[in-house]
Amino acid sequence: MNGIVKLNLLQFLLIYLLLLVVLAIMKKCKINQTKLLVVASMRMTAQLVLAGFVLTYIFKNPHPPFTVGYLVLMSGFSVYTVLSRNKDLNRRFKGVVALSLVTTGLAIVVFFITAVVKVNFFNPQYTIPISGMIMGNAMTGVSLGLKTFTQNIKTERGKIDTLINLGVTPQKILTPFVNTSLETALLPTLNSMLGMGVISLPGMMTGQILSGTLPTTAILYQIAIIIAITAVTCVSVFCSLFFGYRTLYNKRNQMII
């Protein structure tokens, strides 16, 4: 297999032309998010360029503190993103979400790196990109799960109050909300598995193939990472909601939302 074709700056800049197409369609459809598109593309570019330099440095100097530092930063950023998208949560709920996201994310990363791939956990070449994929997907799942949960609770407030008045326990009332939100958070991952390999060649596999890895090796990694992503989404959303919903009522079973 050949190594990857290196992009020169001009070739690379050509891809930005596609953003002009997006911009034109947004203007035509009066989608008032032009600023977001510009800011998001610039932030994405800046963050990835920075990540490129930082990763190059870390790969050249693979000291454990660098890997750990990157993981801490990644976990912190994912927690921050989830919580900033769900500002209405109470403090204890936020704590539960942060803890669930970080512990389940890291546990699955550790399992993946040390038990499945069987390399040193502090090897940045494996740990950093794999944790990025796992934490990123956990973040999206938890965000979606929480959004669904809080929105449903808001729209069904009348039902909740009525059942509380009639002497139904908050656990019994809120558990169905947890279950529905978990299902909503899981569906995109489950659906994406259906089309994998036929409709889409996922990012990690594409990357490996482009850089010269045999497709047969690339698929093994891809299958492993997809299963890890499904697991982390399920467990992190479940823990966030299952332990989080208990912060919505007190010992006297009074709702505190």
Partner: protein, 205 residues
């Protein structure tokens, strides 16, 4: 016998209740302007809201000493906003009973409770297509069917005309007095209060 006794009860520094005693077996109406704390008082009585200071006793014992869920089942609050599940009347009884971990009553029992609440509809009637007043009566009949010791009614006739309101109250009070259920109600309808109140609590005084 005194059923409830409130002494110096304050709620979130917004509402200060006067000292109040509510007698068992007497139909008590709570009156007062909007926002004076009538609905909150009912919520304090069945413990779904907490008060900040003072003493609130039920049957001579502080309300906080009771198991909160048992208390709510005994002192049942039929709230102001009516909630019914999608589906017909039978399905609604079934769903509410499932939430309370009880087997759904059979059709005849359901019909009896509907009759008490002047809601003689077919059990297969879809609740979504009912009027506000009809839904309100079905909801009250579900609440009543749980056989509480105290029934708290928050504006039970808000969506009903004068005649149906009177008929509903007559039926409910007759049913409750036979079964030793004490009724505490909020109503803006002064003629209902005049007709049915054994005692009145005016929160504006």
């Amino acid at each position: 016998m005194t059923l409830f006794s409130l002494k110096g009860v304050k709620f979130k520094d917004i509402i200060s209740y006067p000292n109040i005693e509510i007698e068992q077996g007497k139909t008590t109406f709570i009156c007062g302007k909007s926002g004076c704390g009538k609905s909150t008082m009912l919520k304090l009585l069945n413990g779904v809201e907490a008060f900040d200071s003072g003493s609130l006793q039920y049957c001579g014992k502080e309300i906080t000493e009771y198991d909160s869920i048992e208390l709510r089942r005994e002192v049942l609050l039929c709230g102001q906003s009516v909630y019914l599940f999608d589906g017909d009347i039978r399905e609604n009884f079934k769903q509410f009973y499932a939430y309370r971990d009880l087997p759904s009553p059979d059709d005849n029992v359901i019909k009896d409770y509907l009759a008490v609440c002047s809601a003689n509809f077919k059990l297969s009637t879809n609740c979504a297509t009912m009027s506000g007043g009809e839904r309100q009566r079905v909801f009250i009949s579900i609440c009543l069917s749980f056989a509480p010791k105290v029934l708290l009614l928050d504006e039970p006739t808000s969506a009903l005309d004068e005649n149906t309101s009177t008929e509903l109250f007559e039926n409910i009070l007759r049913y409750c007095s036979k079964r030793d259920i004490t009724v505490i109600a909020i109503s803006h309808n002064t003629s209902l209060v005049r007709q049915f109140a054994d005692a009145t609590i005016n929160l504006e005084d």
